[in-house]
């Protein structure tokens, strides 16, 4: 009998939280899972608190397991704002007419990927991609990543005139940049393509062993990450909401918070800034 009462009480409690959470209109955002989850939760937990204070609405960050899940959640209006990479941002904005890139990191207009190699390959840093890489094993980051897949693949094809899986003996997708570094460091793959920001902050905080893995080539510059917001947020959260979100992002100046991205600060962005990414993705068949 006691068990039954306890059970009923739990059900009642559960129902109550159910009803409450559905009622409030919360501004939800997400981000592409480009790094280890702990790092993402630290970073975006802080952004959540910051935006809540600046915007005066409930703000919630939801973590996702893939780049595509971030795009789908944005498209399905389950999130209204997202920190996308170049490619995922283009995908999302194509799918949601009216959505806009509103802010990017200071570094994002001139972003880079590094090709890294396990030191056992004996490869030295090079200015042009050399034929010595032929037949080695290579890992990208996520399939939907700009700096971990799209741009490196583009430059590899340009240099070698064939698809990576023809030029290399084995091509994999590690999932994210942290994992790419770890896999190349461990020798699971001899080579990898990684977001230069993730590389540099890893070297700085000592989490990368540069005796085991080093940068051998840097790509030319291209535009990358940005905050993208849905076009219909003003209707839902009030006139001028989009401008307030934009302003809040541009005003972000807490060095601790910025260090977690890691970016020096945020500057305005527009959809046109990412046209080169769109063209490249179309060329590689990653966009219809």
């Amino acid at each position: 009998m006691f068990k039954k009462i306890l059970g009923l009480a739990t059900i009642a409690a559960a129902m109550q939280t159910y009803a409450l959470s559905a009622a409030a209109d919360t501004f939800v955002f997400t981000a592409i899972p480009d790094q280890d989850e702990t790092q993402l939760i630290e970073r975006f937990g802080a952004v959540e608190a910051y935006l809540e204070e600046q915007l005066d609405v409930d703000v919630k960050y939801i973590p996702v397991k893939s780049y595509a899940a971030a795009v789908s959640a944005f498209r399905n209006n389950q999130v209204q704002l997202a920190w996308f990479g170049g490619l995922s941002g283009v995908q999302a904005r194509r799918l949601v007419p009216g959505s806009e890139a509103i802010a990017q990191g200071v570094e994002d207009p001139e972003f880079q990927s590094y090709v890294i190699a396990n030191t056992s390959t004996g490869l030295e840093p090079m200015d042009e991609l050399s034929e010595d890489l032929e037949g080695m094993t290579f890992t990208f980051g996520s399939k939907g990543s700009t700096s971990g897949r799209l741009m490196p693949e583009f430059f590899l094809r340009e240099a070698y005139g064939e698809a990576p899986d023809e030029f290399f003996s084995r091509v994999g997708f590690s999932g994210n940049h942290t994992r790419t570094v770890r896999l190349v460091e461990a020798g699971t793959y001899q080579l990898g393509a990684v977001n230069y920001k993730v590389w540099e902050s890893g070297v700085e905080d000592g989490s990368i062993d540069t005796d085991k893995v080093q940068v051998i080539w840097k790509t030319p510059y291209y535009p990358d990450y940005q905050w993208t917001i849905r076009g219909d947020v003003d209707e839902r959260f009030g006139e001028g909401f989009k401008d307030r979100v934009t302003q809040a992002l541009l005003d972000m100046d807490d060095p601790e918070l910025l260090k977690r991205f890691p970016r020096a600060g945020f500057i305005p962005a527009s959809n046109e800034d990412y046209a080169p990414i769109e063209e490249t993705a179309e060329e590689l068949g990653l966009l219809n």
């Binding site: 039954k4 059970g7 739990t10 059900i11 559960a14 129902m15 939280t17 159910y18 959470s21 559905a22 939800v28 280890d36 989850e37 702990t38 939801i62 996702v64 397991k65 893939s66 780049y67 595509a68 899940a69 795009v71 789908s72 959640a73 498209r75 399905n76 209006n77 389950q78 995908q91 799918l95 094993t137 996520s142 399939k143 939907g144 084995r170 994999g172 997708f173 999932g175 942290t178 994992r179 770890r182 896999l183 461990a186 020798g187 699971t188 793959y189 990653l286 966009l287 219809n288």
Partner: protein, 496 residues
Amino acid sequence: MMQGWANIPISRSRTARTSLFFVALALVCLAMADIAITTANPWQDLMRFFWGVMTPDFFSSAGLATALLRTLAFAFVGVTLGAGAGFLLALVYRFRMVRTFCAFIRAIHELFWALIFLQFFGFHPLTGVLAIAIPYAGIFAKVYSEILDEADQEPRNLLPSGVGALSAFVYTRIPDCWEQLRTYTSYRLECGFRSSAILGFVGLPTLGFYLESAFSQGHYSEAGAVLILFYVLIATIPLWVRPRMLPFYIVAAPFFLGDGMPIMWGNVRRFFTEDIVPAPLRETSSEAFWPWLSDLVVNQALPGIWNTLLLTQMALVATGVIALLAFPLISRHFGNRLSRTGGHVLLVIARSTPEYILAYILLQLWGPSMLPAVVALALHNGGIIGHLIGRQSSTIGLRPDAPRGLMRYGYELVPRVYPSFLAFLFYRWEIIMRETAILGILGIYTLGFYVDSAIQNIQFDKAMILILVTALLNIGIDGLSRRIRRCLALQTMPTC
């Protein structure tokens, strides 16, 4: 093609011929497959992982308890709905259309269903519930109808005329099958817990979510904690899943699914009327459809099918080897009580760890190739079959002067359990293939890899065609396996 073998004495037996054919086929596959350990220190990582399991950290993540609750809730709701729908379908299973429909929905793996629903329901509990309920309904329909068909017809014939069909069904058929229906359903519930846990790998809030995060970051103690929780959950099922408690769990479960994100029905409509329509047809140029389709078939479907078949055949034979090696561990004809207890523990761990999780762990530790997948599939499925035939071998009575050791194994027991061993193995052929396809999500180039790539590129039209191909391949293997079993006169009970 097997004519040439007819001269070899052993090949007189159809069973032996079939076995040898499959072993030879697997060896050919092995020669063509990509099998390698690519990590520099695979054993060091494996040791670190075992050390993590020995030193589990249950308190690192506050979400773990919630994840456990969600895992249970998704499983209870999903399996209940699946069983209900499956039972209704079982009643009309004699219609070909129903059978085809059921074969189709169960040929698509839970994770594929989840990936589909994620696109329009998003992170709503319905995604997880339906991902379990739909394929399970197909499986339940098939097994329930088989159980009902085998019921004794005598009580029905003894009823006076004029008894309604419903009363006759409820009072004659159900009581006869009740025990079997109950056993199978509760067995399926255990499968449901496994399915529910792995849904976390695609982002639903179950145990897999935490396992994936912890593991991929090398936090082995956290990963160990999740695994231990999972084993405890499965091992204690007989203690807390009691018939009297079941209604309570079933009523309570929907309230513990969590709320997720609201569903927007516009997204559902969009998915079905736009997203999955092949891109060239959407843009009205229907002549572009054929080049589009042939590109998809040549560059994705065919390589995917090829790798899926390679891996499936290798895994099938490896499963058989593991099962034959493992069953003596728990058979009463070998070892002593202590060794058998150890054997039971090993087999319980092997069979309650979902292939997907095993493959994920081994891929992390050994690097990408088909090897981790083969080992994972063989360990899990071999554990299940080893358990079943080990139990069966214990019921065999041997003469007091029967040989011991290897002779007993080779001449007394293996020949006696071999037919049911093969029956289980062929029954699991289709299941192994379903899993093989899904392991592609982890980066092995089977069909799942191409499905995942299409989804990552937000090309659901391509994803749906590839899922369809996977389902058809699976239905084909299922049919072939049934023919072989009939041909060899093998009978079996269903396993999951």
